[in-house]
Amino acid sequence: MSFISIKFLMILDSIEKSKQITLLIFILAVIGLTAIYFAVINIKPMELKIASIEDSMVDRLVKINGTIDYIRKSKTNNFYWTVSDGSNITVPILDNKFKKLSVKKGDSVGIIGLVTLYNGELEVMPKEIYVE
């Protein structure tokens, strides 16, 4: 580790000052990106029943399990699933990778996504979908 640090300092010393500052800013940007990455991967979704999702949870990451009750296709080629575990919630399928999933009415799914509010209705915008 110390060898790497010394080597790094030697390289840094051989570079002119203005370039050193640029390199330092680049390193800080990479450190920032790494911090964001760890923050993002360490957010754990709350596993919930659909009935317990409420307005105050908008933008929270949640996990729900249920069956697909209804699939609607819009004019713009997006899909809207109604997922039920006794209560219902809409899951908009806007991402191409989820559009490719072959699912049908009655399939059991697990969905990790963000709670969103669209036109006054709560939805779960999926980040990950598990078809069981």
Binding site: F26, A29, L33, N96, K97, L114
Partner: protein
């Protein structure tokens, strides 16, 4: 009753214009931040009046937002991408001429977009749906083109690096849930365009502005019209990239012509985004996002009212801009720019902490570093928009 409503609307337009004017003076601060405060705290209780106020803020800032880059060299998404150098040693006359150029460009921008109001309901859904499968590829081609036109291989490499770094931020943060989605762009844009330009040392030169011949103005207006139309169809394109492309393709390089087309595109794009929202329900600008947040879906009659507010706000802003040009120039010669910069910096920090917390600070820090990097490596700040473009391209193509 009707006249009361009109007076109320006029009152809120004037308030909005005054707020936009004030925002134009604060380096690093933008109309988006101001609108966010208005929408979040619902300072205006009636939805219509709130929308009218937000429209007036955005439109007046589209004019007054040129003050900060002209005087301090600190711009926003629309201006900092193309105005690289501040007009230091700015004389009263030069500032007056600059502001007149911005005013005439902005008015032209609104005029060229207005006729589309009557075709928007038919044209936009048709073109939008036809282009939709291609949008990802169009965006990708434009990004590659913007990197390609950097002057040498070293710059091309730096440009691609900046695009990828900012794109990585966008990919990591999109739908992550660490920051509420309504405020996600706040730390990103403050970092990329606010803090980074407040911190970066800019090369400053004085430029004299010439009059633009009518025939040239007509040509620039035509370019601005085509560019804004194109941008309004392509998800992910913003005012800054549209302006950069228009400048490059139209071969526009003289300072006065740059100011004219930037202002024209900024206003045309903002106006067209209202038409797109009304005809397709798609959000193409911060203003459209705010309108949708407040009103939900909007109808043609509401669109006409909002476009009316755009025109009145623009007229008031232009009058203020022309009337205030000389006194402003005099006053600015006495103001210490450093204090204003520090003031802008603290306002932005407060906004980030208040709305996005610690994660927002980390995000702003990272985007500030990337913004400074683009300035130090002397590549166009257009590449910083990778933060929005890369996630859009990935979602559309994959």
């Amino acid at each position: 009753m009707w006249s009361d409503s009109i007076l109320d609307i006029l009152f809120f337009i004037i308030i909005g214009v005054a707020l936009g004017f004030a925002a134009g003076f604060i380096p690093g601060f933008s109309s988006e931040n101001l609108s966010l405060l208005l929408v979040t705290y619902g300072i205006v209780s009636t939805n219509y009046y709130l929308v009218v106020t937000v429209i007036a803020v955005e439109i007046s800032y589209s004019f007054f937002g040129f003050l900060s880059p002209m005087i301090f060299g600190i711009g926003n998404e629309a201006t900092s991408l193309t105005i690289d150098n501040a007009y230091s040693d700015l004389t009263e006359d030069a500032l007056k001429r600059g502001m007149e150029t911005v005013a005439s460009g902005g008015l032209v921008g609104i005029l060229i977009s207005l006729p589309l109001l009557f075709f928007a309901e038919d044209v936009y859904p048709l073109v939008y749906n036809s282009l939709k499968p291609l949008v990802g590829w169009i965006l990708l081609s434009l990004c590659v083109y913007m990197v390609w036109i950097e002057r040498d291989w070293k710059r091309k490499f730096f440009a691609a690096t900046i695009f990828c770094l900012s794109g990585l931020v966008g990919l990591l943060i999109k739908n992550s849930g660490i920051i509420p989605s309504d405020y996600l762009l706040l730390p990103i844009f403050i970092g990329l365009y606010g803090f980074s330009s407040l911190i970066s040392e800019k090369h400053r030169e004085f430029y004299s502005l010439q009059d633009i011949a009518w025939i040239k103005k007509a040509r620039i207006a035509a370019i601005a019209f085509i560019a804004s139309m194109f941008a309004s169809f392509v998800t992910g394109m913003k005012r800054g990239q549209t302006s950069s492309l228009a400048l490059r393709i139209g071969g526009i390089s003289k300072r006065e012509e740059v100011l004219f087309i930037l202002s024209a595109i900024s206003l045309a794009f903002t106006t067209l985004s209202i038409f797109v929202l009304s005809s397709t329900g798609k959000v193409r600008s911060t203003l459209a996002y705010d309108i949708q947040e407040i009103m939900g879906d909007i109808y043609f009659s509401q669109t006409v009212l909002f476009v009316g507010s755009v025109i009145v706000s623009a007229c008031i802003s232009v009058c203020a801009l022309i009337l205030l040009a000389k006194p402003l120039g005099r006053a600015l010669s006495r103001i210490n720019g450093k204090y204003l910069k520090v003031f802008g910096f603290f306002i932005c920090v407060l906004l980030i902490v208040n709305f996005t917390g610690v994660y927002g600070i980390v995000l702003a820090f990272t985007t500030t570093c990337i913004g400074i990097l683009s300035s130090r490596l002397r590549v166009r700040s257009t590449h910083l928009m990778g933060v929005l473009l890369l996630p859009s391209i990935v979602a559309m193509i994959l």
